[in-house]
């Protein structure tokens, strides 16, 4: 019937009764439900059908555990304790902000044995982790003896936002290695930052750094170790992959272009005792008042320092700084 009328008459006329009829149907359903609202509860189980999208983690934290571990000696109970609390600290942080924590074993291995690629497992681990988490964008490498002091700070807000304008794009501000600051063919104005790093009293510090997934990073991780470079330099590269990166940085503009430097205390504060030659320079050392983000007890097992004592100190300090006041539920002015 409907078909024949539309064929003989202009469609505008046939449209009206049809639409009214549809609305009539809806209004009967609506009034039915209005009288029995409990029927809506029946829809609740269907909510599980809605696909719930997990926020894919943007940041992967790579924690190098078991540093130098292996068969040479037993780990002491104190070392176990330090490792455990380091892992717990990062796990808590990652959970709080929806990041992924990936713990990587850096035990001594034959393929990175003495005088052969030792130190460069960092690049291999980064490559492997990038394959493991194909959705993640940033990869934050942390050595074992680091401790996040301000777990409330999110990386996106603290570090990854406006990166290009907030990081140093050359070494003019602090240059302990005396690398030539100005280099031909470096175009920092049009390049993104693909690696965030800090310099300590002696140069680059790879105890805590971030890389972004990018073609640049692919290339860097691939070129970081080269047998020809290694053969010539392995005797003088005391800090292995770190010195190698310094060498590459100084000679290759494309690497320079995309490294953004932050002050050491932004991602990698030292405890007093590190950098003994410059122990009065406040730019390296953890400052409780400024609530520095992370403390790196690098080298805590050398000299008269003790990893366990330092760790204990910072763990307690963090607990104290971030503990909730007993009267937190009272209005602020009561405190």
């Amino acid at each position: 019937m409907f078909k024949s009328s539309s064929a003989s008459e202009p469609y505008s006329k046939s449209l009206k009764p049809a639409s009214r009829r549809q609305f009539n149907q809806f209004s009967t359903i609506a009034s039915h439900i209005r009288r029995r609202p409990y029927l809506l509860l029946l829809l609740l189980p269907l909510l599980f059908l809605i696909p719930h999208y997990h926020k894919t983690p943007k940041v992967v934290i790579i924690l190098a555990a078991n540093e130098g571990g292996g068969v040479q000696r037993w780990k002491t109970p104190q070392e176990w304790s330090v490792e455990r609390s380091s892992i717990a600290n990062k796990r808590d942080y990652a959970e709080r902000h929806g990041y992924v924590l990936s713990i990587k074993d850096t035990a001594l291995k034959r393929r990175y044995s003495h005088e052969w690629r030792e130190g460069w497992e960092k690049a291999d681990i980064l490559k492997q982790t990038m394959r493991q988490y194909p959705q993640a964008e940033w990869f934050w490498w942390l050595d074992l003896h680091t401790f996040i002091m301000e777990p409330d700070i999110s990386l996106e807000e603290y570090l990854l936002k406006d990166l290009e304008s907030r990081t140093y794009r050359d070494l003019s501000y602090w240059n302990p290695l005396r690398i030539v600051v100005d280099s031909p063919y470096v175009d920092v104005k049009n390049s993104p930052v693909d690696m965030i790093m800090a310099q300590d009293c002696g140069g680059f510090n790879l105890g805590s750094f971030l890389v972004r997934r990018s073609p640049w990073t692919d290339m860097l991780l691939d070129l970081w170790w080269d047998p020809v470079l290694y053969e010539q330099m392995h005797m003088s590269w005391e800090h292995k992959e770190q010195d190698c990166l310094e060498t590459l940085y100084s000679s290759q503009p494309w690497i320079r272009e995309r490294i953004g430097f932050v002050p050491l205390r932004a991602i990698n504060s030292f405890p007093p005792g590190a950098c003994a030659d410059q122990k009065d320079d406040p730019q390296f050392f953890y400052n409780e008042k400024d609530r520095d983000f992370l403390v790196n007890m690098a080298g805590c097992n050398f000299g008269d320092r003790s990893c366990w004592n330092e760790y204990d100190h910072y763990r307690n300090l963090q607990k104290r700084l971030n503990s909730r006041n007993r009267w937190w539920w009272l209005p602020g002015w009561f405190k």
Partner: protein, 431 residues
């Protein structure tokens, strides 16, 4: 009724609902609202929310959510300008950047001693060390000021030589950058002016016919750099190529064609002929050993043509770096800069031949290998052979109507001029 001293009972509330304390009647109604549940809940909510707001205000002042207080804002503002080897550059509007070839005999007469600052090598008194000098008097366009405005051709050629490396293509607004730039290094000590003219003219004609850019440099301009690690002159091509990438920042491809090669076909457009993925796909040599005849490392089997950053050919001895194409992006630049890293340049088995360094890179670095494709030699680098091509299906040696001819090894027999001349005549005949 007694109205004098109140009795005790007069002070007590009269009814059950009377308040203990006398409250003014204006307020009394408001206090009564507490009995209203809704108001009570509202009050508690306001208290909690107010508490959170105050807490937030207090805590945000304690924990710093950025590291701005640690950075030196002034140092952040100063960003380095992108410059080449020379800081003061000359902007050129023409997309053909090549040195005046007629200066070749004059430059030879001047010798390197007058072209560069130099001093005697303290370790080897026979040898001189050459240095770049960036201290010439420059005018507003970064050109070297004429001191005496002399007409002496020697002075003129010296000035042109020193200025040539500063030239970069920066078109006036509206003019577009060429997509492809042809790059060549020429050696005025090795070849006569007539020979060099033929080579450069060949490049200019080809670039002009296809709307490409051209970047030609004297190899001698790189003497101080080559000298650092006793590199042979063929290493200069890499520095020239990197300078070309700086001079034409918006070009997509750079084709390095050595001075011992000659373009025979000006009608072949490189992009549609070779670089377009659909042209490149069928001729990519997959699973091809880098070191011939049977090296262990081979090009990847499953790579896509559009991912290729370096296009290169092989001779029977391995990689041929006389003619190759590099894409102008982070992979191309990175590979080129790694190739010229001082540690590779001074490695004893690489100093004489940059080709060995590339062979090494391709074999050790999968990321670069996966972006590199080897194409049959006759596509962009047919080899000249004194004999007529032996086999029909030969992919290496020049045959009639090939694109480019490469006189590799002509300098060993000192036949470069002769060979070039024969091809030049052949080409003049056809065009």
């Amino acid at each position: 009724m007694h109205l004098g001293i109140p009795r005790r009972s007069d002070l007590r509330p009269k009814g059950k609902n009377k308040p203990l304390l006398p409250i003014p009647s204006a307020l009394r109604s408001r206090f009564k609202d507490y009995s209203n549940k809704r108001t009570a809940i509202q009050a508690i909510l306001i208290l909690i929310i107010g508490n959170y707001i105050v807490n937030w205000l207090f805590s945000s002042s304690k924990v710093k959510h950025n590291f701005g207080h640690l950075t030196n804002q002034e140092a952040l503002q100063t960003l380095q300008d992108n410059h080449g080897i020379y800081k003061n550059e000359i902007s050129v509007g023409s997309k053909y950047i090549f040195p005046p070839i007629e200066h070749a005999p004059l430059l030879r007469e001047l010798t390197l001693d007058r072209l560069f600052k130099n001093k005697v090598n303290p370790d080897n008194p026979q040898e001189k060390l050459y240095f770049y000098s960036d201290d010439d008097d420059l005018n507003d366009f970064n050109e070297i000021k004429d001191k005496s405005s002399s007409e002496d051709p020697l002075d003129q050629s010296l000035k042109a030589f020193k200025e040539h490396g500063r030239k970069v293509f920066r078109p006036s607004s509206g003019k577009k950058s060429p997509e492809i730039v042809l790059v060549t290094g020429v050696d005025f000590e090795k070849f006569e002016q007539s020979h060099l003219t033929k080579i450069v003219q060949n490049r200019v004609d080809y670039a002009h016919a296809n709307g490409y850019g051209l970047y030609v440099r004297w190899i001698q301009e790189f003497t101080p750099t080559l000298q650092e690690y006793n590199n042979e002159r063929n290493w200069a091509k890499l520095f020239i190529l990197r300078a070309a990438m700086h001079a034409f920042p918006h070009a997509k491809y750079f084709w390095y064609l050595d001075q011992n090669a000659f373009i025979m076909r000006h009608d072949i457009e490189l992009y549609s002929y070779l670089l377009e993925p659909k042209s490149l796909e069928p001729i990519m040599m997959r699973d091809q050993p880098i070191v011939l005849p049977n090296g262990a490392i081979k090009t990847y089997r499953k790579v896509k043509a559009e991912d290729m950053q370096i296009v290169i050919t092989q001779t029977k001895d391995g990689i041929n770096t006389d003619s190759f194409i590099v894409k102008n992006d982070i992979y191309g630049k990175g590979a080129l800069e790694f190739w010229t890293d001082p540690l590779l340049r001074k490695y004893s088995s690489f100093t004489s031949d940059e080709k060995d360094a590339l062979t090494h890179i391709l074999q050790w670095h999968p990321v670069i290998l996966s972006k590199t494709t080897i194409v049959p030699g006759r596509t962009i680098c047919s080899l000249h052979s004194s004999n007529v091509a032996e086999e029909e299906d030969d992919t290496l040696f020049y045959q009639e109507d090939d694109f480019v001819v490469n006189f590799k090894g002509c300098d060993v027999h000192h036949t470069c001029e002769l060979v070039l001349d024969s091809y030049w005549k052949k080409q003049q005949g056809t065009n």
